[in-house]
């Protein structure tokens, strides 16, 4: 029987990795749910954000790099939206086009930073607290706080502001929303920019907590996709809550049974939800 410490530490570990799933899923969920764009390049952007953080961290504090990467990525997100709108790409085509873009970004990363593993050296990695029998690493806690802040802020933005009401109306019925004066084009640019900006923040968290390699872009796709689908397309809090669910389930699977079963967790959860709550999809 696993000890209480093992279970507790594993749950904490699941919460932390779940926060990263949620943060990665936030931008994907917005572009998929509100703009009908299945943006696979979101993962490549997040890794590009991680590499830029690594590059800039030689001169700046890793958190200060957000002042550069977030506006830069916001513009990149707007440019991507312009490109996809210009050619009126439907949902399937956005998937194909952004997959192509992913491979281009991956090749670019490989060209600049090589295919080898890259690790950002930071003093933050040495900070951790012990509370009772449990350890709380700073980098993971920062990821959790950033994920909760951004998801809550985005949820509030969608729920309580005119921007959010317009975005929800556009998602519901774009033509009718336009008739009521919603500027669909401008809204699309802002949402796409925000989604990419969230990728920049996820990139910082990836660089803080993980070793980077271009090929790892693909390792996150399956689980984050499952999280976004479980959490609900277009939802801001959904991917985070689904991320926690998946992260903790995976961690407990690894702590109690064979770790080799862990990758099955996210898709098993997804299938179970499709079976028992098909109305969500």
């Amino acid at each position: 029987m696993p000890s209480a410490t093992l279970l507790g530490q594993s749950i904490l570990s699941g919460v932390f990795i779940g926060a990263l799933y949620g943060l990665l899923g936030l931008g994907l969920s917005l572009s998929w749910g509100m703009l009908r764009q299945v943006n696979l390049a979101h993962f490549a952007l997040a890794f590009l954000g991680g590499y830029l953080t690594f590059q800039l961290s030689g001169r700046l504090d890793p958190f200060a790099t957000l002042a550069i990467t977030v506006p830069l990525f916001f513009l990149a997100g707007m440019a991507l939206h312009w490109f996809l709108s210009r050619y009126a790409a439907d949902m399937l085509n956005t998937l194909l086009v952004t997959f192509g873009l992913t491979t281009i970004i991956e090749a670019g990363i490989q060209r600049v930073w090589t295919a080898d593993f890259t690790r950002m050296e930071t003093h933050y990695a040495d900070i951790r607290w012990k509370i009772g029998a449990f350890y709380i690493p700073f980098t993971e806690l920062a990821t959790l706080v950033l994920a909760m802040l951004l998801c809550t802020a985005m949820w509030a933005l969608i729920r309580f502001t005119d921007f959010g009401r317009a975005a929800r109306a556009m998602t519901e019925d774009a033509a009718m929303a336009a008739a009521f004066g919603v500027n669909e084009k401008r809204l699309g640019y802002v949402i796409s920019g925000l989604a990419a900006a969230f990728a920049a923040v996820a990139g910082l968290c990836l660089a803080l907590t993980h070793t980077l390699a271009p090929v790892q872009i693909y390792a996150w796709m399956g689980v984050v996709f499952a999280g976004v689908m479980i959490g609900g397309l277009g939802s801001a809090m959904g991917p985070l809550l689904a991320g926690f669910l998946i992260g903790v389930s995976e961690a407990l699977t690894m702590a109690i049974t064979a770790p080799t079963w862990a990758p099955l967790v996210s898709f098993s959860l997804l299938i179970a939800i499709i079976l028992f709550r098909p109305a969500r999809f």
């Binding site: 570990s13 090589t114 593993f117 995976e250 690894m254 702590a255 080799t260």
Partner: protein, 398 residues
């Protein structure tokens, strides 16, 4: 006939240069074809093989090439994909009409290339085939220095080394990736551990590409074994050690089969880690001036190519050995005929940069022994510590 002073000087110069300068190869090139993973998941290793082979071929051509002819190496990017490797080797033989084949990288890609080589009756040297029992083709020859039964030889080699640690282990925690070759070795290790009377207190497997090592680190900490047996490769050991650091745990002793050498260097938690190797850039390996020169040249070229870890180790050594074996066989037989070369290899030995290779055992391997060594990370440097005859000068187990 009157010879002008200029002509006389030119002729004298030519004679002198042929005597003291390297002899450059002439005539129709010997075409040698291969693929490497220059993109995709194995690209970080493919580039090491590429740089190594380029240095070797340059040097070979300066020494007169093969059979007095220059060597032309045709390299294709297989994108780390076995299906593409198969197509490339088919093209190299049928369209490019290469004289000889050189090794692709990694078990699956070598297996793909081996099938094509077998269909066309071509010799295939290979550098990195993890499951020897699957190599059934009569004209395939391993140059990695691995035994036919690495699942038996390597665990014994590592445990022999671990027994020399300041605190020899009695209990072991096995954490192994399901990546085929390291998984195969860890399966063998379970039996070897039993036979040697060591107690396995934890035995878990995880999928290759695992993102979160937190719960695994907690289980290792909970098990509190004397030795962590990491059936790991690539970046996994680093991720695992980082996860352990977050919960303030460091295994008393640790083995990682094939870690990416660079990222571990700076990690205080990785100091003392044991791993397998065939070659490290220190004496006695570098006692041979030609090898010392290669190590020096590789360092510069690797830096130019953006390879973070610029010392020659297992990866570059096996590629270098592949070319040494090819040169030795062609030179000895004075032939480029695949069957002639294969017959010669079966009956002879080749001294390479990490020992003497031979192929007189089952499926062109040797059984029960090999040329692998155990290295240990000491003060940011990988040093061979076992067996003693290959140990770095003054190196002691820590």
């Amino acid at each position: 006939m009157r010879i002008s002073r200029r002509r006389a000087l030119a002729a004298g110069g030519a004679l002198l240069s042929s005597a003291v300068l390297p002899s450059f190869a002439q005539g129709k090139p010997v075409r040698i074809g291969s693929s490497l993973p220059l993109t995709g998941p194995l690209a970080s290793l493919g580039i090491i093989h590429k740089v190594t082979a380029e240095i070797y071929v340059e040097n070979l051509n300066q020494r007169g090439g093969l059979l007095g002819r220059p060597v032309e190496w045709l390299l294709r990017d297989d994108q780390s994909k076995p299906e593409l490797t198969r197509t490339i080797y088919e093209q190299l033989i049928t369209a490019d009409k290469v004289d000889l084949l050189q090794s692709p990288y990694a078990t699956a890609n070598i297996l793909a290339g081996m099938g094509v080589a077998q269909r066309y009756g071509k010799l295939l040297l290979h550098t990195s085939f993890g499951i020897p029992r699957l190599a059934k083709y009569d004209m395939q020859f391993p140059v990695s220095g691995s035994a036919f039964d690495p699942e038996n030889v390597w665990p014994n080699l590592i445990l022999d080394a671990a027994a020399k640690l300041p605190k020899p282990p009695k209990t072991v925690a096995i954490v192994t990736s399901k990546f085929p070759s390291v998984h195969h070795i860890s399966a063998g290790a379970r039996e070897v551990l039993k036979k040697r009377g060591l107690q396995t207190v934890l035995d878990i497997e995880y999928e290759f590409g695992n993102r979160d090592f937190g719960p695994i680190a907690s289980r290792v900490k909970d098990a509190n074994a004397d030795l962590l047996w990491g059936g790991t490769n690539g970046i996994d050991p680093v991720l695992m050690l980082e996860a352990m650091k977050r919960i303030d745990y460091r295994p008393p002793a640790q083995v990682h089969l094939f870690p990416a050498p660079g990222p571990m260097l700076k990690m205080p938690e990785a100091q003392g880690a044991l791993a397998l190797t065939t070659f490290e850039s220190h004496p006695p390996f570098t006692d041979d001036p030609a090898i010392a020169q290669f190590v020096k040249t590789y360092g510069g070229r690797a830096k130019e190519a953006g390879i973070p870890y610029t010392a020659v180790d297992l990866q570059s050594a096996i590629m270098y050995a592949a070319w040494q074996v090819m040169e030795a066989a062609v030179t000895a037989t004075n032939s480029l005929d695949d069957k002639t070369l294969a017959q010669w290899l079966k009956k002879n030995q080749v001294k390479c940069l990490f020992g003497t290779l031979s192929w007189n055992g089952p499926q062109n391997y040797v059984e029960g022994r090999d040329l692998y060594k155990v290295k240990q990370l000491q003060q940011g440097q990988w040093k061979v510590v076992h067996p003693q005859e290959w140990a770095a000068p003054g190196a002691k187990f820590i």
